[in-house]
């Protein structure tokens, strides 16, 4: 009658074996190679790199395969690997002005130095399932123009004093993977947290600001995607050398600003920078960033979720969120037993009082 809850070890081993079998799927179908995922699922790879905070397309592709395509699980694998890596130092700040852009659009100027470059975008595709794609036809090879260096749109506004100036800041960047997040958090730290935050959560928060919960009247001043060199100071050499190249998505929003007593009207800024090609997220981050700046800009707290730094920063990490959410499927016999006893006792006392 009493079936002891023994055999956890064997149950776990069996579950892992079954998982491995399900992961592989029908063995008659060829195994996906890591390179195939890296090349053909590049946006999934980008998301895993961004939220995993580790720029390594091969590892991200491996994680996606191991996670059966569950991207949050893949992000988790990357984070758990990243955390074991030593931190050797920090790079020189990347210069997104020197970005070799594949895509660069501005919603505020019809044309501008450097031009509008659509790049590889879904924007003007018709979302019709392409049944020919099922036959996996290779597209005709394209002679892509070489990427060009283009100036920042906000620099154009800055020159005329139309947008709030941003003073260069040489404070070493904080690292929330090495220091606990303490509140209130600086803007640099907030942007860091948002850069690795969950895309879906940030998308919804940003959307809520558009619908009036912390409205900031954002225009996409510029969205650019491309590769930038990463340089690092080598103490033995005494100068910076290039150690690699990464792809980034950067969004700068131009937002309305009014109500300053001492300064003439100026636009304000929202900023989003994300690893890889993740433009939806870059835009979302810049909207949320701008909403979080209400205090600094002397705006009212309307009580909107996107204005609440503690709320946003405490809940944007999907690895923390999914872990805590899913832990409630672990056994809670002991606590439930305590509640059961309490409810029984309360009911008994109520019954006795009633009779």
């Amino acid at each position: 009658m009493y079936v002891a809850v023994k055999g956890g070890e064997r149950a776990i081993a069996n579950a892992h074996a079954w998982l491995a079998e399900e992961r592989r799927g029908d063995p008659a179908e060829p195994l996906l190679s890591v390179a195939q995922i890296r090349e053909q699922m590049a946006l999934a790879v980008n998301r895993v790199m961004a939220e995993g905070s580790l720029y390594d397309p091969d590892l991200a592709a491996l994680a996606i395969r191991q996670a059966r395509g569950d991207l949050i699980e893949a992000v988790f694998l990357i984070r758990a690997y990243r955390t074991t890596l030593p931190r050797l130092g920090s790079s020189v700040p990347v210069d997104t002005g020197a970005m070799a852009v594949d895509r660069r659009v501005s919603a505020t100027f019809k044309d501008l130095p450097g031009g509008q470059v659509l790049g590889p975008t879904f924007d003007y595709t018709h979302r019709l399932l392409d049944f020919a794609e099922a036959a996996a036809m290779d597209p005709a090879p394209l002679g892509t123009p070489g990427p060009a260096r283009v100036p920042h749109v906000t620099a154009i506004l800055d020159r005329d004093g139309l947008i709030e100036p941003v003073a260069p800041d040489d404070t070493p960047a904080p690292d929330l993977t090495r220091e606990p997040l303490e509140l209130p958090a600086s803007r640099a730290l907030r942007l860091q947290a948002l850069a690795r935050g969950d895309e879906g959560f940030l998308l919804s928060l940003a959307y809520s600001t558009q619908r009036g919960y912390g409205r900031t009247h954002a225009f996409v001043g510029e969205l650019r995607i491309g590769r930038v060199p990463v340089e690092m100071e080598i103490p033995e050499l005494g100068f910076a050398i290039q150690i690699g190249e990464i792809e980034l998505s950067e969004c700068e929003t131009v937002n309305q600003f009014k109500g300053s007593r001492t300064e003439p009207a100026q636009f304000t800024r929202g900023y989003g920078l994300v690893l890889g090609q993740s433009e939806r997220k870059a835009i979302a981050v810049s909207l949320v960033d701008r909403a979080l700046r209400w205090q600094e800009l002397g705006e009212d707290d309307s009580g909107a979720p996107a204005q609440d730094a503690e709320f946003v920063l405490s809940h944007c990490d999907n690895i923390q969120a999914t872990g805590f959410l899913e832990h409630i499927k672990l056994p809670h016999y002991v606590d439930f037993q305590a509640e059961l006893e309490l409810v029984r006792r309360l009911r008994q006392e109520a019954n006795e009082a009633a009779s």
């Binding site: 009658m1 956890g8 074991t84 606990p180 509140l183 872990g323 832990h327 809670h332 305590a338």
Partner: protein, 286 residues
């Protein structure tokens, strides 16, 4: 696992955690922020406890891991296997044999001794969290020793239910200063927190907090003079070993209302049965 350091974490990280542990021991009940790492198991599954264990373990330790008092629940098995794999330490289910015990939701029935370390997994370290959701506020409340809100909550329980309706994670006050969440142990276990010869460490990975009770620390469960704290449990004896003084799990044995009660602490129950104690259903179960 030669690709990883002893007990998984690198030495720099362990040093950072050990500093936080020392600070926590120096200020009993105070929540020390620490730069919690991502671990290879999910947040909410004991990452705080696992990091503490990793920082405490030395090669000749003997580790015991329990979840809900039992050594053989799946997550306990998984965490024990993790340290066997990454640290190669000896493991045991015997409370008396262990040097380090990682636990979720229970304190072992067998009294701990000098030299043992009990490591708790903590989901929400802040006892005031459900009264005030903001960390910036609750830290201020602790700093000012402003615990009136907690007493109001307990009073409201009495006004509504006739008693304090908190059965686990029952708040305590440490050495007359910090109000502390003892983690979701049943309040039955609360008295064991106080004057315990072992070191008690609490780790909350997701919330990035470590706190501690050094040996022989005074820990008092919050209550009122006219509604004193009572450490309650199911009013039965263990059906396997006959113990009347151990915390019990209720096991549903059929679909017409039959129940049996068994020790939640499997080591305690096994030890008693080996010593010849029997309960009501000992023979049927065997």
């Amino acid at each position: 696992m030669s690709d990883y350091n002893f007990a998984y974490l690198d030495e720099q990280t362990k040093r950072m955690i050990r500093r936080a542990i020392l600070k926590a021991l120096a200020i009993p009940g105070y929540q020390v922020p620490f730069a919690s790492r991502e671990m290879p198991m999910p947040y909410g599954w004991g990452t705080g406890g696992v990091q503490l264990t990793a920082a405490c373990l030395v090669p000749d330790d003997r580790l015991k891991v329990i979840d809900q008092g039992a050594d053989d629940t799946t997550n306990a098995v998984s965490i024990r296997a993790f340290f066997q794999r990454t640290a190669g330490v000896a493991v045991t289910t015997a409370t008396t044999q262990a040097t380090v015990i990682q636990t979720r939701h229970r304190i072992p029935e067998t009294p701990l001794t000098d030299g043992q370390i009990l490591i708790y997994q903590v989901p929400i370290p802040e006892p005031l969290r459900f009264l005030e959701p903001r960390e910036t506020e609750t830290r201020r409340m602790h700093a000012l020793e402003e615990y009136g809100l907690m007493h109001v909550k307990l009073y409201e329980d009495i006004a509504r239910h006739g008693q304090i309706a908190t059965s686990y994670a029952y708040p305590v006050k440490v050495e007359g200063r910090y109000v502390m969440d003892p983690s979701p142990i049943p309040k039955f276990d609360n008295p064991k927190l106080s004057d315990n010869p072992a070191i008690q460490l609490f780790g909350a990975g997701r919330e990035q907090r470590i706190y501690a009770l050094p040996p022989w620390t005074q820990v008092v469960s919050l209550d009122f003079d006219d509604h004193p704290f009572v450490a309650s449990k199911a009013d039965h004896a263990c059906d396997l070993c006959g113990a009347r003084d151990s915390y019990l799990d209720e096991v549903v044995t059929d679909d017409v209302g039959s129940r049996m009660f068994v020790c939640s602490d499997t080591d305690h129950c096994t030890t008693r049965r080996d010593a010849g104690h029997t309960g009501r259903l000992a023979e049927v179960a065997a």
